[in-house]
């Protein structure tokens, strides 16, 4: 599978599980996608660990360090998996993995070179010494515990935006 095909498969599978994937071709598109996604957020948490996270511009009055009360979290996934449309976050580099879980809106950034084709491709890279916490996130939080009626956004975010760049 070529890189382009892997990216396309990831985006198609992420869309199937009710995530909102956006493919940004350049800096301008990336910034616009980010601004559009975060337009309605009152407070935004961004850990600022990776280069992409550091490049995220958030108005000072919206930025918060408290992810528990934030209305949105913007962070970069360690990896993504095309087979399932999953994002991978891990506790490496001091990342609070739960930050993407508590706010109602999660905006995940994915570097296209970090997209693995299959689950096996990803898990074989971490099998020898996995970080303390690896979380695969596939679509928004959901339940069907009442009469199997699908309800989005139970404990985790009700909205998941994925920006591939």
């Amino acid at each position: 599978m070529t890189r382009e095909e892997t990216i396309a498969l990831f985006i198609a599978n992420a869309a199937k599980v009710a995530a909102e994937p956006i493919h940004a071709a350049d800096d301008g598109q990336f910034q616009r996608a980010l601004d559009d996604s975060l337009a309605e957020s009152v407070t935004i948490f961004c850990p600022g660990i990776t280069e992409k996270e550091k490049a995220v511009e958030i108005p000072p009055d919206k930025r918060t360090e408290d992810y528990v009360s934030a209305s949105a979290c913007v962070d970069e996934a360690d990896a993504a998996i095309a087979e399932t449309g999953s994002l991978v976050f891990s506790s490496d580099k001091g990342r609070p993995v739960q930050a993407g879980l508590l706010p109602a809106h999660h905006v995940a950034l994915v570097s296209s070179e970090n997209i693995y084709e299959t689950l096996d491709d990803y898990f074989s890279t971490v099998a020898a010494s996995p970080p303390t916490n690896i979380t695969l996130e596939t679509g928004p939080s959901r339940t069907a515990d009442i009469e199997l009626t699908l309800t989005i956004g139970v404990h985790g975010p009700g909205r998941l935006t994925v920006i591939v760049f």
Partner: protein, 454 residues
């Protein structure tokens, strides 16, 4: 718990369930939906190949289980977790209670775990003064209703939206609504507060990874992630057979478990946790304990029913079972319902207690056909029925009738006489107030098969 030697009154339970229209409707809706979703999810994948591989891997693990458990323990300890081995339910309950007692923790949030149901953990902790808050929406619903789960994946499958609405209005003091979205919102708000204030989280594990000492938890709601990352103490309870050799083997099961359970390609969340929070890290409980439960498994694994422990608890056999579909999980009166539940109950709690559950199967084989790891459920159920006869635990009437039939079938003369007699007397007996039992049975044919073909 009730008297362990008294059989579960399955027949009485089933009659009650069959008369409950709301339950029948809820069960039909749920099991049919799940069965259809599963069929759709496996239609485009090489299912047989995956089942073979997964089955072989599960067997390999069971063949070498004590090695894998030792390896898991060593790796988990190296990663900083405390590992405890519990021979039985009481030992497991007490290990967990004492961890909480030593730290003066009075409240825990809990992510759904069937093993915790198996050891009746919640009751025990509550007796010790610990408040247990179930956080999976379905578990939360049945917890405040004071009931047990009726399905291993969707515990409140037996309740409809208006019942949940009335329950929430009564117990939580909110306005009545029968909108699942509003009800989910109510539970989310209550439970968010619990997550953020709890000092300890208890979870089960879908798999334990021997090669790295990790545990894997699948959830859709995100409650598993909350229970394992927000409180400073995380206790995992899991049964020993859930080992997989390496993280590289996990994808095999990621592909099969959600597809078989809910028809999803993967659940919304999958957490793989290896030890407590590392120094300088910002994720994870500061202290992690893993309780490995045996509860008779090592002994059962040396016998003829060992393949039962290939089971990965997906619930597909429940949804496929014509008996489960009609009566729901509570009629089984056991922790685990449905075909896998009958076998597990017989193995874990004994034949005396499980003997009546063996009537809760038609031996149609649907459970074996859908099992993602090829547990030979029909074979195990049939073998357990034989064992019930060998132990003399079938009803006296059945024993006498079968012995009588056996003798009659040996003699062509008696057999023929019996056939003719039944043709004369059966219709008369059906009219004689025996309608309840006989009325459901077919009339004997006016001509026997032999008479028709000869």
């Amino acid at each position: 718990m009730s008297d362990p030697t008294a059989g579960i009154p399955f027949r009485a339970n089933a009659v009650k369930a069959l008369q409950d229209g709301t339950l029948r409707h809820a069960m039909r809706n749920a099991t049919e939906t799940f069965a259809i979703k599963r069929s759709e999810a496996v239609a485009a994948v090489p299912l047989e190949e995956w089942r073979e591989e997964a089955s072989a891997m599960r067997l390999h693990v069971l063949d070498n289980l004590s090695d894998y458990v030792d390896r898991f323990e060593k790796k988990a300890v190296k990663a900083g977790a405390n590992v405890h081995r519990a021979a039985d339910s009481q030992a497991a309950r007490e290990i967990i209670a004492s961890i909480l007692r030593d730290r003066s923790i009075g409240k825990v949030v809990k992510s759904k775990s069937m093993v915790s149901e198996e050891i009746h953990l919640n009751n025990y902790l509550q007796e010790q003064g610990v408040t247990v808050v179930e956080t999976d929406l379905g578990e939360y619903i049945i917890q405040i209703a004071g009931e047990g789960p009726s399905h291993i994946i969707v515990p409140a499958i037996h309740k409809d939206r208006s019942q949940v609405g009335r329950l929430f209005a009564e117990k939580l003091g909110c306005d009545y609504s029968d909108d699942p979205e509003i009800l989910t919102g109510v539970a989310k708000k209550v439970l968010r507060g619990e997550f953020l204030s709890a000092k300890a989280g208890i979870s089960g594990a879908n798999f334990a990874v021997a090669g790295s000492g990790s545990i894997a938890i699948f959830t859709n709601e995100g409650n598993g992630r909350m229970c394992t990352t927000l409180p400073s103490l995380h206790i995992v309870i899991l049964s020993i057979e859930k080992m997989v050799p390496s993280l590289a083997d996990l994808p095999k099961f990621i592909r099969l478990l959600p597809r078989s359970a809910t028809g999803q390609t993967i659940t919304s969340y999958l957490s793989v946790i290896t030890g407590p929070r590392a120094s300088g890290a910002a994720t994870g409980a500061k202290e992690m304990h893993v309780v490995l439960l045996d509860n008779g498994r090592t002994e059962i694994l040396s016998g003829e029913y060992r393949e039962m422990f290939k089971c990965i608890r997906c619930g597909a056999c429940l949804n496929a079972c014509p008996v489960y579909r009609m009566v729901g999980g509570h009629a089984y009166g056991s922790t685990y319902p449905g075909p896998m539940g009958i076998v597990l109950t017989a193995l874990l709690e004994g034949m005396e207690r499980a003997r009546n559950l063996l009537d809760a199967t038609t031996l149609c084989g649907a459970c074996g056909d859908v099992c993602p790891v090829k547990v030979p459920l029909p074979k195990l159920l049939r073998r357990l029925r034989e064992s019930r006869v060998e132990k003399g635990l079938t009803p006296r009437f059945e024993q006498t009738a079968m012995t009588g039939f056996g003798n009659a079938a040996k003699s062509p003369l008696i057999f023929h006489l019996g056939q003719n007699a039944s043709r004369v007397f059966w219709p008369a007996m059906k009219r004689l107030g025996l309608y309840q039992t006989l009325g459901r049975m077919p009339r004997p044919a006016s001509k026997t098969f032999r008479e028709r073909v000869s």
